[in-house]
Amino acid sequence: MIAALTTILLCQLAGEVLARGVGLPIPGPVLGLVLMLLLLGLRDRFRARLHASLTGPQLETTGKTILAHLSLLFVPAGVGVVQRLDVFGAYATALAITLVVSTVAALIATLLTFKLVLRLTGDTEVSQ
């Protein structure tokens, strides 16, 4: 589990180094995600030649444990609202309307585009 966590952190670290070092506009953790994908692909390609400790399910298990509690991770930042209650008080209505309209618009636009293009490319629905 520690080895798995280290691998995840190494991908993030490499992502940060790459993003900052090269000056890419892409956030470090997102590059880390791409690196992890490459790593998983390489691992499965050379699976037969790798030591058993490198091909076990620990990496996936650890990653999925973190993802299982994804919404918890937003709590500390969200509590930051207590710091800015003045701003929220002053613009409460305008902020609420903006957030609701924009979120609903983004949800519907994304959903309908996805569905439309899915139909245009002749794909069948996956709803089970």
Partner: protein, 244 residues
Amino acid sequence: MSNDFAPRTFELWVFLSRSPLLWLTVTLAAYVAADRVSQATGRHPLANPVLHSIWLIGLILWATSTPYGTYFEGAQFVHFLLGPATVSLAFPLYEHRKTVLKALVPMLAALFVGSIVALGSVLLVGSLLGLPQELLVAMAPKSVTAAVAMGIANTLGGDPALTAVMVALTGILGAIIVTPLFNLLKVTDWRARGFAVGLASHGIGTARAFQVHPLAGTFAGIAMGLNALLTAILVPLALGLLAG
């Protein structure tokens, strides 16, 4: 002996209220309680665990006059995991790579349309309603996962703390609206539903999608990752347009 009690309790409080231990414990305990309520209601959208943890902790901080900075000393250990969690999105993505590659064209189309609508609508509605520039900058990356959005706001001279709150609010809002809204629109495809909520409401939306269906969660995770990439490029462009 009883005279000793009050000062000792006070000293204990002074120690605890400043230690990361207390606020880390409070964060986890509030979340466990909120998550149990969410489970008990059969994951009802309004029983969103993030929403209820936030006001519960906010209330405790207010009642104990604890500054947010002191709270964050403890809560930062949880906050830190946002980075590794972003990297971990690679696992469901890799596992479902065949399903994902099959839907590559609709995904990319939805990504571009959704990302532009999320960003454009917030700037348009916000400026029409007379929100100040400071708030518009803080709100622009609201659909992107917290770690990334705060980075974007920071580069553009926005307040990252304000952005973090906007991100959390957008996530909660999307997670609450998504199920009734998409049922109303009668769209049943899990890939489309998941992708939309991941794009509009990042990690909190993705967590909601995983609660509903694993395939929806996977597509939500992909949308969250891709939108983080695209928004990082689009926000500076859009704000440039708005200023010019």
